[in-house]
């Protein structure tokens, strides 16, 4: 750190830090403060902002209806994270242990979806899940179904969409973490009478923890606030936090309440992060 920040460096470190600071202040901190200010204001008569200070918006967060939406969002985000771990770990393991060429190929395959717009990819799932979509047509052709299943606009379609969208964010940190674990450690465990399961539990799992934490954060937080997926694949049938915030801003035109919701979400995430830091992660890194 000292070398990085030293004044004697030929590299204009201070200048770069200053410009980064200015950029973040202008485009991150100021908007954040603006939103916070709005969250303390009142809704105007015709959907505008009336600058009358009030706690009312935050009190409305305690509404059972909002609570249900919070809970549902956390449930979906949690489940998405768990499924991403279960699906992502074997994939990440294979990628980390593959030969150079295979690794490159698999990485490319994981990255290919990012070459297309997320909205377009979500619409593709609509085409798959629709009553006359690819999945239903396929299953009916096989004779497994008499009439099409209603898949679109269900919890299942939202869930599949979330897992699909955030899986790469779980896989990539895990690949990095597993690559750092020497294969010799696995062999040492087998040499010391460990079964496959015991090796996984005692060696692989604890040592890939940094990957699980990074991947978990990268999947959990965005899926908590996701709005395109619940909107398109859930049809806005069941409200999620992302869709609720979007509605408050664009449909109900209640900016103060929308801002309060955003801050409520951020506060909850930060609180969870703090609690996580105090338990397992904090213990191990000390």
């Amino acid at each position: 750190m000292t070398t990085c920040l030293s004044t004697s460096s030929a590299f204009p470190v201070k200048l770069i830090l200053l410009s980064a600071g200015i950029f973040l202040s202008l485009f991150f901190l100021v908007p954040l403060l603006l939103v916070f200010g709005v969250s303390l204001a009142s809704r105007g008569m015709y959907g505008g902002i009336a600058w009358i200070a009030t706690w009312e918006n935050y009190q409305r967060l305690l509404d059972p209806l909002v609570g249900t939406i919070f809970l549902r969002s956390f449930l979906f985000a949690g489940l998405t994270t768990i499924v991403c771990v279960v699906v992502g770990f074997p994939l990440a393991y294979c990628m980390a242990r593959a030969s150079r060429q295979w690794q490159l190929l698999l990485l490319t395959l994981v990255m290919i979806p990012f070459w297309t717009n997320f909205l377009v990819r979500t619409y593709a799932w609509v085409l798959i899940f629709r009553a006359d979509g690819i999945l239903n047509t396929f299953l009916m052709r096989l004779g497994l179904l008499e009439e099409p299943l209603s898949l679109l606009f269900t919890d299942v379609s939202v869930f599949v969409g979330l897992v699909y969208g955030y899986l790469p964010f779980m896989v990539l940190p895990l690949v990095v973490a597993i690559e750092r674990i020497s294969p010799q450690l696995e062999e040492a465990a087998f040499d010391l009478y460990a079964s496959m399961g015991a090796m996984f539990r005692h060696v692989l799992l604890p040592l890939s923890k940094p990957g699980f934490i990074a991947g978990g954060v990268l999947v959990f937080i965005p899926s908590l606030g996701a709005f395109i997926t619940p909107y398109l694949l859930g049809g806005g049938q069941k409200m999620m936090l992302g869709t609720l915030i979007q509605q408050e801003f664009l449909v109900s035109r209640d900016w103060p309440f929308g801002s309060a919701l955003s801050f409520g979400l951020m506060g909850t995430v930060l609180l969870l992060w703090f609690l996580l830091g105090r338990t397992s992660y904090g213990r191990n890194s000390s």
Binding site: Q184, L185, E187, A188, L192, P206
Partner: protein, 366 residues
Amino acid sequence: MNESVVLDGVVKAHGQVVAVDHISLSIRSGEFFSILGPSGSGKTTVLRLIAGLDRPDQGEIVIQQRIVTSDPPHERPVNMVFQHYALFPHMSVFDNVAFGLKMRGESSSNIQKAVGHMLSLVRLQGKENRLPRQLSGGEQQRVALARALVNRPVVLLLDEPLAALDQELRQEMQGELKRLQREVKATFICVTHQQDEALMLSDRVAVMHGGKLLQVGTPQEIYEQPVSSTVARFIGLSNLLSGTITRFDGGGCRVEHESLPPVVVKCPKEGPPEGSVTVMIRPERLHVSAEVSVNGYDNTLPAVVNQCVFNGNEVLYHVRLRNEAIWLVRVPIFEAQGCPLTVGQPVFLQWSAHEGLVLPAHPAPL
């Protein structure tokens, strides 16, 4: 003595490369056995095959009269000390050493006792709660040894056990390894590319090259009776001269070389090998002087001093023969007193017939 590990015609290929090429070997119970070879000679693969981390393509592996060729690692009475120790970085010293016993379902009181005993054997008492990264290289090495030995293996496999240690620590650990082996009475099989290490530690040494076994014998046999110039070159310093045998009588062979005077050396008992041969003389067997001495040497070769290296306890002369080959001559310090022969000075190399050895160009396969 009964056999601890037997390899019978074992072959192992990694893709196109044959790492282990028809190796048959029997290692005695309680022996300190070293497999010596340059990197890529297949020695580590042999160790992995015995451990069960690799499966042979052909051949059988027998440990304690039981065929284990297709048994997984955890079913073999064998434990391994890995090259970079492979200690579990997230576990304390105690948990590392206890790992094997825990996996075998030992009771925690037994584990406490066995780990405590083993840590005192490798002199690591009081460091039970340290993490591997808080230990020095030598201490990590001891943890790796303890972690393997606590399981009371019949055979302990060591992959380049001292390679990661500095010179001083290495000598200390050599003594430690011998002491541990005496105390636990297991067979130690050690893979190394350090010939001095193999010679000092081992009861017997196997020399490997290009996936093949070149020679198996006691350190003394390997050093004094190498079967080929490859072995001779790999073990200690050696002076080599190729030529053809022109006369053979009783114990001696006369070997001629186109640009040097003929030399007379010891011949194999079974008769002179056919075709071209290599003559080998160890540097400490040569006598070097400015004048031809008369006290009964059979061979005399003229040479020129090229370099004189003072090593503290000896002087090593590099001399150039008439065929441009550089030979080495070792002179103990009590005979040399520094470098009395100066660079560029013409000298004579002399030795008796029995000091040299004829090596066949193509040794019979083992």
